[in-house]
Structure formats: C-alpha cells, structure tokens
C-alpha cells in the first residue's frame, strides 16, 4: 500500500481529526468523576447543615468556641469597652478596612461571630491575647482586634464572618 501525501485537506484528514477530538472529549469526561470524588461527599455536606446556638449562657467579655463544618467559630460577647475600641479605630488605617458595623449584625453590637481560623495559613488564634484585646495567632504572629480585624502580622484579611442570623436576641443560627 502506498500513501499519497497531498497538500490539500482530504476526507481522511477530517476523519483523523474528528476521531482524535472525540477521543479527547471522552478522556476529559473520564476525568470528571476522578476529580469530583475528591470534593466533600454527601455525608460531609449533610453534616455541614446549620447549627443553632443559645447565646444566653455566654457572659460579658467571654469568648466561646463552637464548631460548624469542622471549623471553629468564635462567639465573642463584647463589653462596652471592647465595642468602643472596635468602633473608634480609624478604618482607613486598617490593613483590611472594614468598619465595626460591617462586622456585626445591626442592633447586636455586643455579639461578634467570626470563623476562628487565621487568614494567613489556617491556625487557630488564641483569644484575649495580643496588643488589641482580640486574638493572637501563635503560628506567625498575626494579631486581631475586638472586631476580629487584622491589625498586625502576615495575615492578609480580617477573620471571616460565617453566614448567620439572629433567631431571637439570645439565639443565632450559623449556616
């Protein structure tokens, strides 16, 4: 058998390219389940359903740690002094500028609810430590204030806020 190479596109060229394209699409489709299986499975997602937290037992100035989706959530019952500290800061001077009013729910100034994971590399900051009365991360020295905002250290962002809502004055639902 002899092969004739022609400069023009032939029917055979088309068949080669079409076959190759279908093969490539098939291989890519086969990758989908292989990659998707690594994402959170149904039971993990189900276990990540919203949780309700009773705030009544949390004393003035106390910080409690609860878990939602395996993440620690800090619930900080702020004192008057701590609220004032958070409010009087010059917002423009912050590394990640956010006024205190955006950190809490309106009318619930005394309750700060944040995800207790340092935005640098994921360590859990220690409560009531550091220069700003908020948190201090022992891993790389990031410091957060009483509104959970980054003030000093390598973390790029303020502590993230979880999705939550007040069901009553003493009860919140996280998630």
């Amino acid at each position: 058998m002899t092969t004739v190479s022609s400069a023009e596109h032939s029917r055979r060229d088309f068949l080669y390219i079409a076959t190759g394209a279908v093969g490539a699409v098939g291989a890519a489709a086969a990758l989908v389940p292989l990659i998707a299986q690594m994402n959170p499975d149904a039971s993990t997602i189900a276990a990540g359903a919203p949780v309700e937290i009773d705030l009544a037992p949390i004393a003035d100035g106390q910080i409690v740690k609860v878990f939602w989706r395996s993440k620690p959530i800090f619930i900080f019952h702020r004192t008057k002094k701590e609220i004032e500290e958070a409010q009087k800061v010059d917002v423009a001077s912050l590394p990640d500028p956010e006024p205190d009013s955006e950190r809490v729910k309106q009318g619930h100034d005394q309750w700060l609810v944040v995800i207790g994971i340092c935005t640098h590399l994921g360590c859990i900051p220690l409560a009531h430590q550091g220069e700003y009365d908020g948190w201090f991360c022992p891993c790389h020295g990031s410091q957060y204030d009483t509104a959970g905002r980054i003030r000093k250290g390598p973390a790029p962002k303020n502590l993230f806020l979880p999705p939550y809502a007040f069901l009553s004055d003493t009860k919140i639902r996280i998630g």
Binding site: N39, P40, F67, G122, P138, H140
Partner: protein, 408 residues
Amino acid sequence: MSGPSTYQPTNRAMQWFEKRLPIGGLIHSSFVAYPTPRNLNYWWTFGGILSFMLGVQIITGIVLAMHYTPHVDVAFKSVEMIMRDVNYGWLLRYLHANGAAMFFLAVYIHMFRGVYYGSYKEPREVLWILGVIIYLLMMATGFMGYVLVWGQMSFWAATVITNLFSAIPGVGDTIVTWLWGGYAVGNPTLNRFYSLHYLLPFVIAGVVVLHVWALHVAGQNNPTGIDPKSDKDIVPFTPYATMKDAFGMSCFLILFAWFVFYIPNYLGHADNYIPANPAVTPPEIVPEWYYLPFYAILRSIPNKLLGVCALFGSIGILAFLPWLDTSRVKSGRYRPLFRQFFWLFVVACVGLGWLGTKQPEGIYVILARILTFYYFAFFLIVLPLLGIFEKTKPLPNSISESVLDAKA
C-alpha cells in the same frame, strides 16, 4: 557506555534465557562493565546511598502499612500500637521516620555535589531535571507521611501546607476544599494522604529508573568536569565503584543506626506525641528539619501570595539551573570565584534552616530576608554573571593527567 554488551553467560540455561530476555546483559553492562571515571570521590557515593534509602523506606513502609489504620479516630492509636505491641514495630517505625530524614540528608549532599561540580551542565540537563522532579516527589511523600501519624504537628502541618494553596487568587478556597474533601482537614484528607503516600514512592522509583537511564546515556560527571578521553581515564564499575559505594554506604548506615538506636526522636517534635486536636493549635508550629529553609523563605516575605510564590519558586528555580549557569567550565575545582559563592550558598541554606526554627521576630526576620535574597541572587545574578566575568583556572588535558599530576 556504548556498544553491545560483552556479557556471555557460560551456563547453557542462562544462555537459553539470555537469548529470550537479555536482562543479564543489561545488568552486566549497567553495573559491572559500566565504565566510570577513575577519579570519582566519596561525594559520588550518594546516588547509591539514595537508591538504598528508597528501598529501606519502601520495605519498612509496606510493613508499617500492614499495621496502620488511616482513620482519624484510630490513626494515632494504631501508630502507638505499632510502637508498643507489634513485634519489632518500634524498630520498623523508627527506621521509617529516621530513614526519611536520612533520605533527605543524602539528597541534599547529592544536590550540593551536583552544583559544586556542575553536574547539571550539558549534556546532563535532563538528568538534573529528573533529579529535581524526584526531589519534589520526595517532599510531597515526606509531608504526607508525616501527616499519617495524626499527632498535633501532623494535623497542623497538613492545615498550614494545604492552606498555601488558598493564596491562589480566585480559585484558592475551592482548591483547598477539594484537597481536604471537607471543610477542614479531616478523615477524607487522612485517607487520601495515605493512598498517595503509598503510591508516590513507586512513582519515585520509576523516575529514578529514568534518572539512572539518563545518567548512563550521558555518562557520569567527575571532579574534573571533563569527559573521559581514553581507557586510562576509566575503570569498570565493578569492583571499583561498587566497593567504594559499599564503603560509603556502610559509613552512612552507622549514622543512620546511631539515630535509630540512640536518639530516635531527636529529629521529631514532642508535640507530635499529642493526638491531633482540631480545636487547638500548638504554640509553635515547626516543620520537619528538611523543609525548614523553605519555611524560612515563606515567612521572610510579609505578603501571603508572594511568600507562597517565593516558596515554590525557590524549588522551581532549580530546574532552570542548567541555563542560569553560563560558565562553560563544569567543575568548581577550576572556578575560584564560583567556589566562594557556592560555599556562601551552602551557608545561606543552612542559615535559612536555622532561621526556620526561630519565631519570625526582630533580627531573625531581617536575617531571613537577607539570606532569602542571596538564595535567589545566587541563581539569578551570581551564576549568570560569573560565566562572563570569572577567570577560570586551566583545565587538565585528561582525567588521568589530573590524577597522576596530583600524585607526582
């Protein structure tokens, strides 16, 4: 190095077999008759030591896997049961844990040797890049193995390292969730790390085969950096190189055994004997010693994304070394200026390792920044310029001449 094998089995059965699968000839030409430069020093024995260490890790690892349970509830306990209940479990685990450290020690010596003698230069670029790939795979394997213990350091190392990917703009968090298989490091993470920790050593073994293949195509470099020119420059691999390798390996094993039997926990961290607790971060997180220089580079840069880029860049830059070094003289022996910068580079790497153990405050941050700068400057400024400005010493005419002159 080339030409057909001279291997001629005398046994009739072997002859029959050789005709059908010439594996005896392959082994003979690769490890017996293989011509090696006559001037190889002991720094050249680390290739053999590394192959041996890979074998040790695979064998002890397979045995440990027979007793280990990759589940967050019992992983830590199963490791303690290996230590207390399994026959010789303590020995196997200490061999595996310290073996990883020895593996890295040997690979660092092997890499520094390659840099000093210009072993990455033409025609050994691919050989070098395969080595960089092996090193990357080793880092991934070592990291995932450390996580399997599921102590406090394991858990938080896994958290910090996987969070490096969260620095990627836009898709970072999606990637991290995908890596975890959950909303934090947890059981799915431990399971997949176990699976990959079992797989990767065999991938390493595969790349090692390519590495040795590339080595046997280009031939070994040697302390003069010039190619063998005649039979006077070479000796057969067996017995010369095999014996030298065996002696070097024996000395290395003494060090290994000293760690295993006398100070098995010296290189570890006490906090890793506390079971993983997702609610409490240990007061001080330190990676294993062999990652410390890179950890120091990460921390020396105040911006998260740039820090992560510097961390990966410091490893990735190694792959470009063959083209960054512009000098045509291979061996540091004939490059007086390069030698000084090289030893400064070694000091910088060790210094960064030391700084990796320190809290990132005050003078330590400044020192880490200076050394990080030098680390990159060595590759991006020093090596390209030295090739142009350095006045090298005259090269000998041949390997045998350099050896015999030294004797005379």
